[in-house]
Amino acid sequence: MTTSTASAPPAAPAVPATPATFTVAARAAWSSVVRAGETLTLTDLHGNQAVDFLVYDAADTTVRYSAPDTIHAQGGIFLTTGSVLLSNEHTPLMTVVADDVGRHDTVGGACSKESNTLRYGHHTWSQHACVDNFLAEGARWGLDKRDLVSNINWYMNVPVEEDGTLGIVDGLSAPGLKVTLRAERDVLVLVSNCPQINNPCNGFEPTPVEMTITAAHATHEGRAA
């Protein structure tokens, strides 16, 4: 009996050996499995670069990052050291174990060609956007549009005023600032290195960022702790 290739899931990209460092080009997507106990360090190489980020339970991708669960569990909208990234089933996916910046966004979601038409006008339609990165990169792991939910924006600064007014304002990051996340189970991470050029989230000039996966019980540089 033969198996239909049409119904076979896409071959998932290999899980990297650690330590492993990847440079994500400006405007590009990236993804990886990070195994339980390993850490993922994001480095804002040039400063003020928003990194759109989704995380899934690698064993069951229906369990995925939930901005609302993360917000109501910690009682606040900003992420920093100690924040636990919770799933839609309220289970821990990753924990922020180090943060040079102090404030990251859970509210603003990803830019898209569609929302850009509302925010700036239809002249932006041909510009690349994070949702397209997420769709293309997610497809490599068998994910589709239904699997995209409100995401984290590392390094993005989105204050909320007393009257509810919110907006993406000038960033707090600077060249070389890092955020380190520890995987609380085997997770799949999707990244869009944000290509937005119509607001200050990338200082109006998208730049590369660096991703480093480090083995459990090791430091950023890969040495045993």
Binding site: P68, I71, H72, G108, E114, S115, L118, R146, N151, V160
Partner: protein
């Protein structure tokens, strides 16, 4: 009444007809005692118990009024385009595009495709709603109340959404972050979430469907509700035929972002042959 035979069991079942419960749909909806519109225009009339759920497909232009009868309901809401459920409520776009985290009168509920799913046309609460904290989960309700499954005394909103979704051919993958009405939340300058609680008995909010939408509603305590007990009162749900927002309505032009969202919606519907 004897139920030992099929005839007896049938008589027993039929004798229950006409029983009234505090929480139930009234069918047909036009039989609802005090309609907020012309009686013949009512298309959905239901009281949803605390810890329960409901769902409907609403035609474009239908208005949907939710009422917190006792001041202790919390209406968690999700919207999907009928027949194309991959276009659905996007809370992040809803708050980002409109430059505001609060929900209230004249706010639009946006899809991930730059279009309007529904607009908020009336709100007696002064915006005591929430777009940031989502709904409750089984894990958290077990921790807080001792149980969280749908059949338990303290069902989690997400468990109720899963059932409502399943009845519309949708799975847990299809459930994005949701909105909730009647239990307000505010954000302080340092980002802290402050729970305001209810606006009081009789508070209502009215939505208008701007496309044909599948509506899922879970009535469950807000996840930040500080009470030890699972307290959730009945939610009244009434919907009636009305008209979608048109280009001459003030709401159409209320903001430049909203105008483009209405224009995108109208353009999309026009190309499908829907006026």
């Amino acid at each position: 009444m004897a139920t030992a035979t099929t005839y007896g069991a049938r008589d027993h079942a039929r004798a229950q007809a006409g029983t009234r419960a505090d929480a139930m749909p009234v069918v047909p909806a036009r039989d609802w005692a005090e309609p907020p519109c012309e009686a013949g225009h009512l298309v959905w009339a239901e009281t949803v118990a605390g810890g329960n759920y409901t769902h409907r497909v609403l035609a474009r232009g239908t208005e949907l009024r939710l009422t917190d009868l006792t001041g202790s309901a919390c209406a968690h809401l999700l919207l999907f385009v009928d027949g194309r459920p991959w276009e659905r409520l996007n809370v992040a776009d809803t708050v980002k595009v409109q430059w505001n985290a609060h929900l209230g009168e004249n706010r639009l509920l946006l899809s991930d495709q730059g279009r309007v799913l529904a607009s908020i046309v009336a709100d007696t609460t002064g915006g005591r709603h929430d777009a940031l904290c989502g709904t409750s989960t089984l894990v958290r309700n077990v921790r807080r109340y001792g149980a969280g499954t749908a059949e338990s005394p303290s069902p989690a909103g997400r468990e109720l959404f899963k059932l409502a979704a399943a009845k519309n051919g949708l799975t847990p993958r299809d459930l994005p972050p949701s909105l909730s009405f009647f239990q307000g939340v505010r954000i302080s300058e340092d980002g802290d979430v402050r729970f305001l609680g209810p606006a009081g008995p009789g508070a209502s909010v009215t939505l208008r469907a701007e496309q044909d939408v599948t509506v899922l509603i879970a009535n469950a305590p807000h996840p930040s509700d500080p009470q030890d007990a699972y307290v959730c009162g009945p939610l009244e749900v009434l919907a009636w035929r009305a008209a979608p927002t048109g280009a001459k309505d003030p709401l159409w032009d209320a903001t430049p972002e909203g105008r483009r969202a209405f224009q995108n919606t109208a353009d999309f519907l026009a190309s499908r042959g829907i006026q």
